[in-house]
């Protein structure tokens, strides 16, 4: 408190501002009396001091612009009723620093005035006047007064046209706690009456847009709650698990569950089909390679056997090898036999000179046999020199029938 006072004094000295002393004194006295009764608000004062310090720096930087600025330091944001009182004083160009400490639960009619006066927005008024107005609510989050989430999303050059809009924070802690007390369930209720579980520590979600982690955090919170509730309910003897033979109407109808099931089945089938298709594709790709390999192998085997046979043949031709002689002889006999008989046959037929059989002869007569067929119809020297079919008369005189001559072009044009 003492600290606070010195700070205020320093502020006043620096700015040379006169404050409506009498009124403030009254309020302060009132506040102090209240505070003695009520909880001490060290945190609030700390926040207040920080706020004042921050504001001072800001003002030093830009105090020329903020000539008509009004700086309202309102403890807990409760004293808005007074703020409106002082806004008129601030209009004359003086810098008005009001510091009200934690003003909890004053008489109720004064509370009412806070609420009703809080509807207006002095910020906007000040902006229209052209003065840079700095309105500070003494919340924990002072730096969040100005930012608007959607302004950041706009392009930077478009920001000029958008007037930032802002709401006054009304956070009447005293009224809130009183209201809570008025309707809260009694704490003496057994757990089974409400079945409400609060997690041990707040759920930390770094990125709200990250669906997977966010849902996981929610799931964990609920799962922990269920475990705790289950233990407590068992202790109180409340039935928890539904027995397998207990059937009753469910939230989702059978029809809806059937729809869900078919959807899942469809999805599974789709997934299976797609994996099958992929496997088939892969197999096809792989199968081609296998086929090529098989063909190559077959080719190679063929080549190998041929090579072997050739090698054997070569060996046989050159081989007088004693070891293989017998084998070769036996093999050669058969081969030579066939060749021999064939040769003999042909020789004998040639020798007889009888030619082919009768049927063949007849066919040859009918269809022709032997002789060159190529160029049979093309000219040779003799046929080219043959002028028997040529007549000058026919060349000059036109057709032997001698029809009417075609009229000339001129005459034709005239007709």
């Amino acid at each position: 408190m003492a600290k606070d006072g010195t700070l205020k004094a320093a502020l006043r000295r620096q700015k040379g501002v006169d404050i409506k002393k009498a009124k403030q004194k009254k309020h302060q006295k009132h506040a102090e009396k209240e505070r003695k009764q009520k909880r001490s608000s060290e945190v609030d004062i700390g926040a207040l001091q920080e706020a004042i310090a921050g504001k001072l720096d800001e003002l030093d930087d830009e105090d020329a612009a903020a000539g008509g600025a009004q700086l309202d330091e309102l403890a807990n944001g409760e004293a808005e009723g007074w703020e409106t009182d002082e806004s008129e004083d601030a209009a004359d160009g003086g810098l008005n620093v009001e510091t009200f400490e934690d003003e909890s639960e004053s008489d109720s009619d004064e509370d009412e005035t806070f609420y009703t006066a809080a509807g207006g927005s002095p910020v906007k008024k000040a902006q229209t006047n052209g003065a840079a107005a700095a309105d500070e609510e003494n919340d924990e989050d002072e730096d969040e007064d100005i930012p608007l989430s959607d302004i950041e999303s706009l392009a930077s050059d478009d920001k000029g046209d958008v007037i930032p809009h802002q709401r006054l924070t009304i956070n009447n802690t005293a009224a809130l706690t009183r209201s809570l007390k008025s309707f809260a369930l009694p704490a003496s209720l057994p757990f089974a009456a409400v079945q409400s579980v609060t997690s041990a520590e707040p759920v930390q979600i770094n990125d709200v847009e990250d669906d997977l982690n966010r849902e996981l955090a929610f799931y964990r919170q609920s799962l922990d709650a269920v475990k705790e509730a289950r233990a407590k309910l068992k202790k109180e003897g409340v039935p928890f698990t539904r027995p397998a033979d207990y059937f009753a109407e469910m939230v989702k109808s059978e029809e809806q569950m059937g729809k869900v099931r078919t959807k899942m089945l469809d999805e599974a089938a789709r997934k299976k089909a797609s994996t099958d298709a992929r496997r088939q594709r892969d197999l096809k790709k792989f199968g081609k390679a296998v086929q090529v390999a098989k063909l190559q192998e077959r080719d190679k085997a063929k080549r190998d056997t041929l090579d072997k046979i050739n090698a054997l043949k070569r060996k046989r031709q050159s081989g007088n090898d004693a070891l293989t002689a017998n084998e070769d002889d036996r093999f050669d006999v058969a081969l030579e036999d066939a060749a021999e008989t064939d040769k003999k046959d042909r020789a004998s037929r040639k020798a007889s000179g009888a030619g082919p059989n009768r049927k063949r002869q007849k066919k040859d007569e009918k269809f022709g046999f032997g002789g060159k067929k190529k160029f049979a119809k093309s000219n040779d020297a003799k046929s080219a020199g043959d002028m028997s079919g040529f007549s000058v008369k026919r060349m000059k005189g036109g057709k032997p029938g001698g029809g009417k001559q075609r009229p000339g072009k001129n005459r034709r044009a005239k007709v």
Binding site: E112, Y115, T116, A118, G119, D145, L148, S149, D150, A155, D157, G160, D161, V162, R167, L168, T169, I170, N171, N172, A175, T177, L180, F183, A184, L185, L189, A193, V194, Q195, S196, V197, T198, P202, V203, I205, V208, R214, F218, Y219, Q221, S222, A225, V226, A229, R230, K234, V238, P239, T241, R242, P243, Y246, A248, E249, M250, V251, K252, Q256, M257
Partner: protein, 312 residues
């Protein structure tokens, strides 16, 4: 009639008045659920889902007025409800959810977004119609005064009281309320209990003979897992009123930007592009005129080196 009697005896917070034989405090809640005109199908389905999940709720016909919400207090009194959940639809797209404790308040107004109904989510979870949920709250609810109020009101609205007539005796689902990004995210899960492979006979839970494991299968060692049921939605608190649909504002969320404002900002941003372009054109013209580059305009003076002077 008996219901009327029992409700007429209670105080707004669900506590019975003293003087009754049963002096133990009771949790008695009844929720009146209704929407305004102009809700979309999705809002309507969400309301139906919540109604099916909350056996102590009573659905009523759409309310004709959007301005005189005080009528809701009378309606709640008529149906002997001590909670009201009112869906206010605006412009056929925005949904505002009012939770209130008539007749004395408080009232909280939320903006609901990211709505997904049970039907469209196609989750496999399911639960008994009328079973009482476990309510799971984030610890962040306890940190500030307004979130404490919100938590209490959510407890009243979504917590099914033991005295409700339509309840079923087992607990098979959990509703999760989490604060993230200054919004309240609501989820609903089924509690799926599966027996673990080996049931320990020496477990503290099971003081019966080991032969009873088969008979009391439910009491053995079980694994608890959750399956989501739906619906999903996110509530942004806007304002808390001290009374029921009226009275002074005791909390207002300054970070809430109304969807109308966002839409208009987007439109203005688009207009801003045109405005800057138009201004640029004007400035360019003025600059050219000042430089004397426009015929017949501007401050161009005839100096001694001008052609007209030189060759006069």
């Amino acid at each position: 009639m008996s219901a009327y009697k029992s409700f007429s005896k209670q105080k707004p917070n669900g506590q019975k008045q003293n003087g009754d034989e049963d002096t133990r405090p009771k949790n008695r809640q009844r929720v009146l659920m209704l929407s305004s005109r102009g809700v979309t199908h999705r809002h309507r389905h969400l309301l139906a889902d919540l109604n099916s999940l909350l056996p102590h709720s009573r659905k009523d016909a759409k309310l004709d007025t959007k301005t005189q919400l005080g009528q809701l207090n009378e309606l709640a009194d008529l149906y002997s409800c001590n909670n009201v959940m009112f869906f206010e639809a605006r412009k056929g797209k925005d949904l505002y959810v009012w939770l209130s404790k008539p007749p004395n308040g408080p009232t909280i107004k939320f903006h609901a977004n990211n709505l997904h109904t049970m039907e469209e989510l196609n989750f496999t979870g399911n639960c008994l119609k009328g079973s009482r949920p476990v309510l799971s709250f984030d610890a962040a609810f306890e940190k500030q005064a307004h979130t404490r109020v919100i938590k209490e009101l959510l407890t009243h609205t979504f917590g099914v009281p033991q005295t409700s007539r339509k309840i079923k005796p087992f607990v098979d689902h959990v509703m999760g309320f989490t604060i993230a990004d200054n919004k309240i995210w609501i989820r609903c899960y089924q509690i799926a209990e599966t027996e673990s492979a080996k049931a320990k006979p020496g477990d503290g839970d099971e003081d019966a003979a080991p032969t009873a494991t088969v008979a009391k299968a439910g009491k053995g060692e079980t694994n608890v897992s959750l399956v989501e049921i739906g619906p999903r939605f996110v509530l942004t608190p806007i304002v808390i009123l001290e009374g029921s649909f009226g009275g002074p504002v005791i909390y207002e969320n300054k970070e809430f930007v109304s969807p109308n404002q966002i839409r208009s900002d987007l439109r203005k941003a688009k207009a801003g592009r045109y405005n800057t372009r138009a201004e640029g054109t004007v400035e360019r013209k003025a600059k050219k005129r000042d430089m004397g580059l426009r015929t017949g305009e501007g401050p161009r003076t005839v100096d001694e080196l001008d052609e007209r002077v030189l060759f006069a």
